[in-house]
Amino acid sequence: MKRKKTLEYNCPSYGGWGMVRSGMLVPESCQLFVSPPACGRHGALGAVRQGFKDRLFYLCLEESDIVSGYDQAILETTEELFLRLLHRPKVLLIFVSCLDDLIGTDGEAVVEALSERFPDVKFRMCHMNPLANDSEEPPLVSLWKNVYSLMERKKEQPEKKINVIGSYRPVSQESELFSFLKYAGIEEICHIGNCRNYEEFRDMGNNCMNLVAAASAQKAAEEIWKKNGMEYLNLPVSYHFEKIEENYMLLWKKLAELGMHKKEKETLVEELLKNRKKDAVAAVALAKEKVSGRKIYLDDSAFAAPFAAARFLLESGFLVGAVYVSEWNESDADYQWILENTDTEICNVRVYTMVEDWKTEADTVAIGLEAAYISGSDYVVSLFQDEGMYGFEGVTQLMRRIIDCMTEKADLPALIEQSGFVV
């Protein structure tokens, strides 16, 4: 299948957390958006819905600012902002939009000047620039670099703690990852979303390694490693049993390299994984029974690796009607496998003719809100980027959510509204 660049269609359920909500994960931070008013509208409305509009402020640019540059305006507005806020934030993320890519504001100089003026505040210059979506540094990659650069290494001897980075939500407490790491001597799994204040997040820099749960955070992990030698391992979410086992082996090996290896615990680890795999297998069987041959539609908003997820479902005996994606790599092995071995459709959800391809297959299951809208499924799993699912427990949870979604017909407009997604 050859992808063609065409005009693009935006399905009503298209979107994700967006830059504002993702950046708001930084505890005790505020954001100053520097852009034409239009660029800030969806983020601001999303913030109203999510309840953090009181941490989001705007410097609405005028034509004259764009012509003459707005470096100075950022400095002056930040000063004004801090005067008007009751409490100065510990971090200020300054966002510029697409047009800044062409203007070239000297972000480093702005941050330097602000840091001198307000040494008690950390500043980062961030970019909300979908214009760079196909570049080596798309917006989310650059945002995670900025966000995770706020972690500081202050201790020589790393803590026996691991960071999970790149995922929007912490790994579910039910995941075997916790027990697994405990056997390896790791005392805590840290995630930005669990930090109660900025200091807790900052101190994640003292932990022994970063487990990169989503590809978008890989560059952030690389930069941290270059800066202070903090180890990292790319172990993105997978639902495939062999892959999960392989990931755990890699993690065990890495922990051994870090001197955390506890040989005597190996049997316990094997037992743990065996049991959790058994649970996952049982959950798959139960879900299959419940789904009872209905088609499943899924999309790339639900899964960071939608082809791998689809392949897992297909190999587990589910019927996958279509995989809806907007950007993909044609050399992806799972994509190739689906093409060669199945009748599953692979649809570019962004192509303008998609609007004519809506289905009305009500008696089906959709995983992801775009898949739900396009397929017309009655049964919907509202999932975004794998959420906190990880390891065998992730599979069990996914199956549980499929089973749960079949108890009643979904109210899709309400789910879209609740998601607060922005493009």
Partner: protein
Amino acid sequence: MGKLRMVLPPFSPDYSGVCSALFSFGKRGITVLHDAAGCTGNYTGYDEPRWYHSKSPVYCSGLREIDAILGDDEKLMEKVIEAEETLKPELIALVGSPVPMVVGTDMEGIAADLEGRTGIPVFGFDTTGLGSYQQGIELVYRKVLCRMLSEMEEKEVALEKSAGNKGVVNILGATPLDFGGSGTVEELCRLLEQDGWQVQTVLYQESSREQILQIRYADCSVVVSGAALSFANYLKQNFGIPYITKLPFGEAYAKVWLRELEACVFNKDREDTSKEAKGWEKEPVRGLVLGEQIQSEAIRDGLWEAYKIRADVGAVCGFYPETAQNGEVFLEEEAEIEQAINRESYEFVVGDPLYQGLLRKPKRFIPYAHYALSSKMGQKWEDCLIGSRLESKIQL
């Protein structure tokens, strides 16, 4: 220098106004927002309540950095031509956004080029994301509708006027950006029909080419937002169609407004009385109505007729001096709105619920959603005030 906004989200931008007004063309017109993704997302996600289950062909051009830097307009044109060949629209609109503004993309020039290549009308809109939605709506009326009307053949369409009706009216300026899903426009049509008028073209729901061209045969235009004023003036000058502004909000004011409509149609040479003294000059101003100017004027007049209580109008997103009376001001910046809303002399404020965040002290606040500000977040407060509904909703 740009202004700091602490509380309010930005209003719907100019490009959303263009897309919203063009929505009436339905599948007959392709609208292409020339942007990377976010601008189209703004419109489809937060500025277009009709988007769910709509097949209206509004698309994103998928602009990328390299195309912007190189000024590669050909890529855009190829995509548009491909869609034109597939969808066979009657017209195409190219809508600008901040990046095309910065790199100086000539939207009108590209439109002219495409028109030559496709043989159908193509309109270029130099919108920038800096202007308000009202400017966008105004642009559509000025460019698309004026051109359609000026190019139409003398006998291309006719209008059959139903016997027994007082006359034919068009409703101009209605978009969901001002009325959301409140049902105001539908109720306005019903009230007009009940009063014996034939409502011809509304430009709110999907309208056919014939319906659009029939605009010129109406007896009167009803202008429900400032964005349509310039088009109403065009119709007046070119086709002799008079117009009336505002909406019949409140039972008492509806009677006044319907009388004005009749006078407008049957006594075309009359002086414009809409700005005449209403006998309220000696009354103290007790409230503020914040929002789109024409709609806010209608609320103000409705409150006066219902309760003899006088209010000022704070117009946001655009100001049209020709309809403004004493006590009407343009509140462009958040700081200006904040200052106005907190004036001690105002006992009450009518406006979008998000303005409440600007109140420093508690004050009676009557929420009346403005989609161009609070979008879906204001849906709970979307209200239709036509006829007696104003008195039911607002009790002073």
